[in-house]
């Protein structure tokens, strides 16, 4: 006993001394597997220009990159009037190293100066791991070169309140009929509008979110119709009929109460906050809207008071299930005429990996462009959509004018302004 006491008394000061020392900082995480190729002492500045007001997810990547290259200063700059000013910026004194780019810029005469600055990212000398990105998202030009690489993807679907489904004993629907039945069940429980969405304007309206995937799926099966649709040929109007029918049925069956939806003032924050009220089983929206959920959890008093689990699912428009419209959201191009091009490419080599892209997508809460959906459970249901129901509009060759036609047509049908027949006839004339 005395020996034990003596030992304890001896050890105590030692522990105290140890406690006096500064506790070692936990080893900070760094991207595993990335090995710098350039001098880690190099001091330079890299600017990424984009249209986002802020890009915290990318700024987090800057910090992670700084673990390897602490003297490289990386900045994100938001350009006002991005699409119009980009060409000027690329020619000016503040040339960015990396800039947001879009598939539609390729082949567009207006953006020839922009494209002219793009570096070929498929050049094997750069060592970018493009294989980690889903093939449908990568755009190859006529020569097979990749000039822009997606960092996020965009899709269409519905936010599902999992806890509410569980509470009401319902299963998340996997077919259109099931969806109608689930909506009936919720209505029977007193929920006025089991499905909701933005209805104030055609841009971002839920009608387009429902119709566009179905229309794309229809066109995917009929190349002639696709060609006509791209050419805004009214003959392609018939291809809209299944999509518009789905919108109409959802409204007529009472799954969606338009009056309730009209109360949502914008297609982003208000959609999210309405969903966070907790009484909406399914909120129809795009992936871009979902990206705002994480930050707004704390802004919603209802959600803070009663948080619940939610996930983003494809809307089950067919008997087999929903479609995963896999489309690039933000893509990066490297300005081949920028300063510090080597370090810029090194940063791209660091960024274009499953780990970093998933990390960034998770933080931004956008759909990852990689094949691995596991990092963000909200998007996990899209990882389960089979390849035959995964459609890449870019690969398919869907053009922007086509999307305008289905958007306006579905909005007007949904709002009851025109009939489906009228809409079919008017294809090509919607503005």
């Amino acid at each position: 006993m005395k020996r034990l006491l003596c030992t304890m008394l001896f050890v105590l000061p030692l522990i105290t001394l140890c406690a006096c020392g500064t506790a070692p900082k936990p080893k900070e995480e760094a991207a595993a597997g990335f090995a710098p190729k350039l001098s880690t002492e190099e001091k330079c500045k890299i600017t990424v220009a984009g249209s986002y007001d802020n890009f915290e997810a990318l700024e987090a990547e800057f910090d992670r990159f700084n673990k390897f290259y602490p003297n490289v200063q990386l900045n994100y700059v938001k350009l006002d009037d991005y699409n119009n000013v980009l060409a000027t910026v690329l020619e000016g004194n503040d040339r960015p190293n990396i800039f947001f780019s879009y598939t539609w810029m390729i082949g567009n005469d207006q953006y020839k100066p922009v494209v002219a600055h793009m570096e070929e990212l498929s050049d094997t000398a750069l060592g970018l791991n493009l294989s980690c990105i889903r093939p449908g998202l990568l755009n190859h030009d006529a020569d097979g070169k990749v000039m822009l690489v997606p960092v996020f993807s965009r899709t269409y679907g519905m936010l599902v309140n999992n806890d509410l489904f569980e509470k009401e004993g319902q299963k998340i629907p996997t077919s259109f009929d099931e969806m109608i039945k689930v909506c009936d069940a919720f209505k029977a429980k007193g929920i006025k509008s089991p499905m909701m969405g933005y209805t104030q304007k055609s841009s971002g309206c839920f009608m387009n979110t429902v119709a566009y995937p179905q229309f794309t799926a229809t066109l995917a099966k009929d190349p002639d119709a696709l060609a006509k649709a791209n050419a805004l040929d009214p003959a392609a109007g018939e291809s809209m009929r299944p999509a518009l029918g789905a919108v109409e049925r959802l409204i007529e069956s009472g799954c969606i109460d338009l009056a309730e939806c009209d109360k949502i003032e914008d297609n982003y924050t208000q959609v999210i906050l309405r969903f966070f009220e907790g009484d909406v089983p399914m909120m129809i929206c795009t992936g871009d809207t979902v990206s705002g959920t994480k930050k707004r959890e704390s802004q919603s008093e209802a959600f803070t008071a009663s948080p619940f689990k939610y996930t983003f699912h494809p809307i089950p428009l067919s008997d087999q299930g929903g479609y995963f419209i896999d489309s690039p959201s933000v893509q990066f191009s490297v300005n081949k005429d920028c300063d510090n091009l080597d370090m810029t490419n090194e940063f791209m080599r660091f960024l274009i990996t499953s780990e970093e892209l998933n990390q960034m997508a998770s933080m931004k809460r956008l759909v990852t462009p990689t094949t691995d959906f596991s990092l963000d459970p909200v998007y996990a249901p899209f990882g389960q959509v089979p390849a035959e129901r995964t459609i890449s509009p870019e690969v398919l060759g869907i053009t922007d004018p086509l999307t305008v036609q289905i958007r306006i047509a579905s909005y007007q049908v949904g709002k009851g302004e025109i009939t489906i027949d009228d809409a079919v006839k008017k294809y090509g004339s919607f503005e």
């Binding site: 005395k2 000061p13 006096c20 802020n54 915290e56 006002d80 000016g92 004194n93 503040d94």
Partner: protein
Amino acid sequence: MKKYWIIFVNVIIMLAMLSFVVIYSNQTSRNTTQRQIEHFENTTITMEHVTENYLEGEQRICDVWARYINSKEMTMEDAISFIRISHVLPNASAHIVYEDTLSGLSTRAKSEGSEDYSVSYARIGLLNDVSWIKAIGESINISRAYTNPVNGEQSIAFCNAVTLHDEETGEPKKAILLRVLPLSELEEKWVFPQEEFSNAELSMIDDDGDYIIKGHSFKNSSFFEFYRSYNQADPAFMQELEQKLSSSTGYFTMQNSRGEECILAYTPIAAAGGWTLLNMMPMKDLIVNNENWMLIGFVSAGLLILFVFDLSVILGINKQLQVAAREAAAANKAKTDFLSTMSHDIRTPMNAIIGLTTIAEKNLNDPAAVGEHLQKISMASNHLLTLINDILDISKVESGKLSLSPLTFSIVETVENLVNLSQPMVKEKNIEFNFRVGKMDMEYLYADQLRLNQIYINILSNAIKYTEPGGRVSVDIYEEESEKPGCVKLTYRVSDTGIGMSPEFMETMYQPFSRQTDSRVNSIQGTGLGLAITKQMVDLMGGIIDCQSEQGKGTTFTVVLDLPIAERQREDMELDPMDVLVADDDQILLDTVVDALQSLGVTAFPARSGQEALELIKARHESGKDYDIVILDWKMPGLDGIETTRRIRKEIGTELPILLISAYDWADMEELAKEAGASGFVSKPLFRSKLYDKINALLGKEVKSVEPENDYSDLQGMNILIAEDNDINWEIISAMLEMFGITSERAENGRICVEKMKEAKKGSYDLIFMDIQMPEMNGLEATRNIRKLEDPWASSIPIIAMTADAFSENVTECLNAGMNGHIAKPIDIKLVVKEIRRIKEKKS
């Protein structure tokens, strides 16, 4: 106080000191940090002043332009031309756009060589609402950072509302004048001045938190969003923060995007309503407290070392105390055991003395019985004396007061004395006794003879004591060359065929009062102190004692001592050349004698028996060349020494000198030897010097007759002065001396003794026996006074100490005081007589 309490208190003190150092250090560190923060905050305010001055300066230029344009009814072209002329900064430009269309002209073309000066702010949400542009001179009208639509550079603009005149209608038309400055240029100039804040970053935000100018470490497009992203904040706190930032100066800490704790100082820019200057720096760059940690580390290490050292010392002391406590307990037990043993051992002979005295008193009419009882009383008294001497010795040994008193002495005398002392016991027990002396070149050595004697006697007396009658005791003594310079290695080995010792006993045999538990031992008187004293003395003399023993077979003790050689040695001993026959059945003794004789220059012839000696003598005689001397051992198988002497005398004649040698007391065989015709006797051991003396004496025909033991006629008529204060002691010594025909006078103390000597006529006293402890003047003082007397006879009279102070240092003290000898009480009359004779011989 118990050990662990001491440790506990130590630890508490250490912890208290450490805590003090840590608290003090932290307080100092906090104060330093606080001062740095205040300095940082003040620097931020200074930066705000600098920024404000800069903004005001830039705005003033814009104001001057606007006033001029307004005063001149200019068209768009006129105004731009005017500004183009007055504009000198290379990277700056100016734009004028109509409020309604937000389009207009720029002072610079869109690209080099281009003639396109048009500019549009229609798609830049900067001028959709121009309410923030106040009247000229009222405030700084600065835009947020935006992308210059002309050259794509991130820029800021100082604005003013101007009125132009439509070229076509001539009507006034509202327009906005923008003085546009590239942000990069501004950022390069907008560097924190202090070196210690080189990692500080500045930002400027508007009242919504949106950055006007954004530092690298500031994330998001809004500072409040940035704060929310990396710090815990509820809406109420954010509201308070927004309020605080736009209305006051201060600082707070926050986490940056890397999770680092940062200090953020803020101050509103007074001239630009709603704008706030932010200054952020990681705390780790602000806090410089390495020295404090070094101090803490140093103090901690010092305290720890002190603690460990103290702990070790305390543990060491505790260990020593434990050992001391154990030793004290053991000593206490030993004391108890000692007293118990003493009680028993002293009472036993005392019982005999008292009992036999009582019996003798009752049988005074029976002289034979009284004589027998007195003899037994004498034996018991001697045992008691031995016991007391041993006890005193062992007590001195154990108290560490035993010291050596080295003197020059003759090892020959020592050995002879040893033999003489052992003779009665050997004779009594009828045991075979061999005393072999090996090479003994150095007769005089310098050591404590008394202690050496004690060692040798103890070992030899034990051997004799524990050897059964008919057994054998052999003693070997010889000198060898010592490794110590100026010394000889003297080896003394005593072997017996006695009862031996068990291995268990041998482990403790040198401890006091150790006696073997054996029925045979119990019948033998002993104190159990002899070996303990012997061992201590051997150790004190730097020697080695070794014992080999086997129970029932015997014991061999070997003592090896390195003794210094005395300066005084006998002169070179050389005899005339002659032939000497030596006969002894002991081969070792024979060889030793032959060697000794040859070293004296004579030719020695060995014979291993009496018969062989006789034959050799006969053969020599027949050849007409007799031996010069014949030396015969007394005890030889077949013809012994006496018989051989008798045969020589009978067959050869009486001329041949014959020396008989014996290890025994030759008093018993004296008559027989003389009758047989022996010319002289020499006792074993045979030393070279002894042989030299005896042979010389024999050849000189002066065969010294052995003095009869009971002849004390030489002492007759002597008169001795005895200084003795004790009446009984005086009575004993005077009576004893009277038995030898010696008269004595008493001096009751030292002073009287000195007085008597002063008054005495020359030759009145032959010597003085001086007690030491006496009243008025002790013996030592009296001796010194006598030595100082003027009368040469009186001052040189032999003085022998006769005292109960029996230790060697007492002896030395007496000799140093000027005495000539020392006799310990109780007195042995034989020793007294011997001492008197020694003095007498010296005198003659």
